[in-house]
């Protein structure tokens, strides 16, 4: 029995119910987590110990130096888009693929995957490519709903391919090696890239009105195409420094993030000082904007993150997870059924909450059950991250959809983007099913490294 003679299940359940009431009332997610757990902890321990617990666990989580990876990866994403790296990659891929009927769409998907190696935030990638590639696609005869849906969906690939913010959040909250979770995202990222490219080809066959004619603007000579590969050097260097350094045992993830962020910053500064005086001024303003955006994005993520640790402590203290684990094990549920149930929960939650909040709320409850059931932690991590990603492009709270709408041309409504997004949602769910059928896709790379 817990405090006030309450059963742990009831106490923990009441805490979770209060959390959802606060969320429904529109409380900022960080405070919803803190208030629900503070009340719960006060019931269990009393006011003074509760206050100590809340402040100590919040402070110790946010002062964890491993988490420096988050602001640094965010900074990389902002500088890479602000410095025109995303545009260069897209232009190069357009020269290679633009002359095919679905070429520009596929170029967008591939550019997002490549941009994913320098940017770990899918919302940033969606906004950037909705600005760069979607208007180009429309000029080449793509339906507006398809053009913006491609850009908005492809942004999600960046969250799978390292550096991925979701992978860092998952690794930190669950205790699974961050390096391994990051590594596990590569193959599913490639899988989603292939699935989205096939979806675009299929869409052009099934509904020819979606992509009206082939492009002529992008017919280029082989010399031009090969010359365009020059613009890939930044992405290559940064990707090599992250992957080579981290998996070659040279750096820890936080050190890799520092080196990569410094490289991107230097590249940005070199480009800035190479321009004329006016461009230099403009680039400097952009640099300050990128730095401010980094601080803002970090603050909003860390607020939820620190608060989730407090919530996690409350859940652990009630003994809720142990009770549920015992119930689940007692019910003899097969591990696969358990993961399917959790996956459905993630996809449904993804329709209403953002990815980081979902991880923060569910990891304290679900992960002890997963380890008690003996499920492979890395495989489960890939399933979770991919399922949460589905939520990013699913209405009504698909953050990537909002990001695309935010920068879309004036005649494009949110409904237009939503109309075009469904084939990509189905493609992503198909990838989740493939990961279930072939667990090795997510786990073989992490197993190669120690």
């Amino acid at each position: 029995m817990g405090a006030f003679g309450l059963d742990p299940l009831v106490l923990g359940g009441l805490g979770i119910a209060l959390l959802f009431v606060l969320l429904a009332l529109g409380t900022h997610i960080g405070f919803a987590l803190i208030i629900a757990s503070a009340i719960g902890l006060a019931v269990v321990t009393g006011f003074k110990p509760m206050t100590d617990m809340v402040i100590n666990s919040f402070y110790h989580k946010i002062s964890n130096p491993t988490l420096i990876t988050l602001p640094l990866f965010i900074l990389m994403g902002h500088l890479a888009s602000g410095g025109g790296i995303s545009r260069d990659i897209y232009e190069s891929l357009s020269l290679w693929l633009g002359k095919f009927r679905s070429g520009l769409g596929i170029a967008t998907v591939l550019a997002c995957a490549a941009f994913g190696t320098v940017c770990g935030a899918s919302v940033v990638a969606s906004a950037v490519f909705s600005k760069i590639s979607a208007p180009q696609m429309r000029r080449q005869g793509y339906d507006k709903s398809l053009a913006y849906a491609i850009a908005s969906a492809s942004g999600a690939i960046g969250m799978l391919i390292p550096p991925s913010i979701l992978a860092i959040v998952y690794g930190t909250l669950s205790g699974v090696s961050i390096g391994k979770v990051l590594m596990a995202g590569i193959a599913p990222g490639i899988l989603v890239t292939i699935a989205f490219s096939l979806t675009i080809v299929l869409m052009s066959k099934i509904k020819p009105s979606y992509i009206k004619r082939g492009s002529t603007e992008y017919s280029a000579t082989w010399a031009q195409r090969i010359k365009s590969l020059k613009s890939w050097w930044t992405v290559t260097i940064v990707a090599l420094s992250i992957f080579g350094g981290m998996y070659g045992g040279v750096f820890s993830p936080s050190e890799a993030a520092s080196v990569a962020a410094l490289l991107i910053s230097l590249i940005y500064l070199i480009r800035m000082f190479n321009g004329d005086k006016n461009k230099r001024k403009q680039d400097f303003r952009e640099l300050i904007r990128c730095l401010n955006e980094t601080a803002i994005t970090s603050a909003l993520i860390f607020f939820i993150f620190g608060s989730a640790t407090v919530f996690s402590q409350f859940i652990v203290l009630t003994g809720l997870t142990i009770t549920i684990s015992e119930l689940v094990i007692g019910a003899n549920l097969s591990p696969i059924v358990l993961v399917i149930v959790f996956t459905v929960i993630f996809v449904v939650l993804g329709m209403f909450l953002d990815g980081i909040s979902i991880l923060c709320i569910t990891i304290p409850v679900f992960n002890p059950i997963i380890s008690a059931a003996g499920i492979d932690a890395i495989w489960y991590a890939t399933i979770v991250i991919l399922s949460v990603e589905v939520g990013l492009i699913t209405p009504p709270v698909g953050l990537n959809l909002f990001a695309a709408k935010g920068v879309a041309e004036p005649d494009v409504s949110l409904e237009d983007i939503v109309r075009g997004i469904w084939p990509f949602v189905i493609a992503m769910l198909a990838c989740v099913v493939i990961l279930f059928a072939f667990p090795g896709i997510g786990t073989f790379l992490p197993r190669l490294v120690n």
């Binding site: 429904a24 009332l25 529109g26 503070a38 919040f58 420096i68 602001p71 410094l262």
Partner: protein, 162 residues
């Protein structure tokens, strides 16, 4: 009264902007420190002392100092789906209530984390590291960040910007 409120808001905005600059400067600082550590470790076999511990003390400045500015531009995450189906007056009343609740939570956290900082400062609490690093310096970020965060909530409530 209105003029005073406007001036107070402008002053608060200045503080928030200063805090956000400290936040990203700290990120850059840790980035440089880590790269210097890696370079001296690999090329001179001479790791920079206490990089990890210095980062630990500085991390709260990156995190907490951005809270208030992020709220001032309405960028903190909240789910408004349920609220949106309610009549406008009910929406306003509920938002006012949760903002008040959040403001009180901020002040509560600010006050008790200040007590913790003060205790740490009075005994000059230090980290066990290769160089002497004061713990209280890191602890100072939480009360300051939370207090400004709470004041921003209060300002939104007073100005009826909910």
């Amino acid at each position: 009264m209105k003029m005073n409120l406007w001036e107070a808001d402008r002053f608060l905005k200045k503080i928030e902007k200063a805090l956000i600059v400290i936040s990203w400067s700290t990120t850059l600082g840790i980035m440089f420190l880590t790269v210097i550590d890696i370079t001296s470790r690999f090329f001179f076999n001479l790791p920079f002392p206490a990089t990890w511990e210095v980062s630990e003390v500085l991390m709260p400045y990156i995190v907490v100092f951005g809270f208030a500015f992020t709220l001032s531009i309405n960028a903190h995450v909240r789910a408004t789906m349920f609220l949106n189906i309610l009549p406008a007056r009910a929406q306003k009343a509920i938002t006012l209530f949760v903002y008040l609740l959040s403001c009180c939570t901020c002040m509560w956290l600010a006050w008790f984390s200040w007590i913790k900082f003060w205790r740490s400062f009075m005994i000059n609490e230090e980290m066990m590291a290769a160089i002497r690093i004061p713990w209280w310096f890191g602890r100072f970020a939480l009360p300051v960040g939370m207090a400004v965060f709470g004041i921003r909530y209060l300002m939104i409530i007073i100005k009826r910007e909910v």
